[in-house]
Symmetry: C2
Subunit: 285 residues, 2 copies
């Protein structure tokens, strides 16, 4: 993770999605605030956040996924950003001895979670290709080899580019969770803790990116971004799009993250040519 | 857990299932050995372990399960002890971003574990009523809300009173794990770390327990013990059986463990009358 959280606070403050004062008060693990850290390096600056007039926004990023690498393409022309729903969940079953509790008298929280994990996976596949769903975290309370798990906390999410599908996934999961809880006689709390609607980038900016890739003779394909980006905040204010380049094994936020110099140069050139084209023919001379 | 592990070392040493010196050398969390602890309270004693001649062994215990309570019975006449197989498992998939990794390119270790959990549950149910199966522990390596779990360690077990069924469960799980690993392109290591064959108590001792319960006018039912007991070690040396009494909610090894005074008195009386009967008519006068 980053030193300060949440991520992308700069663009969020620029887009008035989070108050500037809130950002300045966020602290790192040692209790140092963003404001104090900016003052210490002389980077706070005199202008009011969001006061700079901008005509468009373009962002270059590694894909953070495996698609470009898998298809041997150099440039991802990002057209949409996925909507996201995040859940915090808790399953309360009953801790009991694995040897002396018959199967039909168990309230196994891990078995209930297992059904939820597979249901989320199946719902995402059913509503694909641009829907994904995961359980990323799951912690058994007081785990023991010979104790049936009685308490599990977990996180879950869905992402899809289509707002209607996001709603369908949400409703279907609620229904499935109710069914599992009733059948297995466990309590399942599933709280929606964050929801981001899908982002649809500006056709003119998308076209400028595609044209730049074509002009440079680079292979490209349209893409949906599944990760979070500053561009999603900026897209609420002005015409925006993104350029992706491949990354090794789709790895990101990881010490193994890697992209070739050639791909980075290609992405930077696409960014440059798209910006020049948007700035007007005179600048292309 | 107990101060020293493994559990039931006394009866294990008596039955020569573990060497006496090994027991004496086991240490607690502070590094104090069993031998030093026995010396400190003057309990080591002068006799060689296992040298005392015994004609039979009877053990009274709370059920550690919910069956007697659920059926309103006072005495469990234990006829068998379940065989047990313990596994340590590890699933190696691939950590990647939940948003930018399409469903078909994922190697989700938690989804693989979920299938294993449900397969173990289904195998136990299919081979019931005296078979059980569980995953008690599961830990995701470096979990994060927006990272697909790439590494999970877990423990699993089967218990059943029938040696042939224990073998069937073991073989079926190996096959299922191979299938899941291949289909999901993850690595699954499943190591059998302990195996205990089923225990079948002595018919004469079982009859003595049942007759004692009948004689005292106490409701009873035959039972299989799913937990571990000293009696299993002793049964390798001499005629053995056990008496169970109900415990609240089937809870054991837990601060909420509870049994009524009436049930404990009933169990003690069954134990007394069974021992008197086995010791011969003269002692019953």
């Amino acid at each position: 993770g980053s030193r300060f959280s949440p991520a992308m606070m700069g663009s969020a403050a620029f887009a008035r999605d989070i108050a500037v004062d809130t950002v300045l008060e966020r602290t790192d693990a040692e209790g140092v605030s963003v404001g104090a850290a900016l003052d210490a390096i002389g980077y706070r600056g005199p202008l009011a956040v969001g006061s700079q007039p901008l005509g468009a926004f373009l962002e270059l990023h590694i894909e953070q996924g495996p698609i470009l690498e898998a298809e041997g393409k150099t440039i991802g022309v990002v057209e949409h950003g996925q909507g996201i729903i995040w859940y915090d969940g808790r399953i309360t079953g009953f801790q009991s001895h694995t040897g002396s509790t018959p199967m039909h008298l168990r309230k196994d929280a891990l078995a209930a979670l297992s059904e939820i994990v597979l249901a989320i996976e199946q719902l995402a596949i059913t509503h694909g290709p641009n829907a994904v769903g995961s359980v990323g975290e799951a912690v058994i309370g007081m785990p023991s080899r010979n104790v049936i798990p009685g308490d599990i906390t977990f996180s879950a999410e869905f992402r899809t580019v289509d707002a209607a599908i996001l709603e369908t996934l949400h409703a279907a999961l609620q229904e499935k969770v109710r069914e599992i809880a009733g059948r297995r006689r466990v309590e399942i709390a599933l709280d929606l803790i964050w929801r981001k609607e899908p982002t649809h980038f500006d056709p003119a900016i998308i076209n400028a990116v595609r044209a730049a890739a074509d002009g440079l003779g680079l292979s490209h394909r349209p893409m949906v971004s599944g990760a979070g980006h500053d561009a999603f905040h900026m897209a609420t204010l002005m015409p925006t799009a993104m350029v992706f380049v491949p990354c090794k094994d789709g790895l990101s936020h990881n010490e193994l993250e890697d992209a070739t110099k050639d791909d980075c140069v290609a992405g930077a050139n696409v960014l440059l040519h798209a910006v020049l084209a948007l700035a007007g023919g005179a600048a292309r001379a």
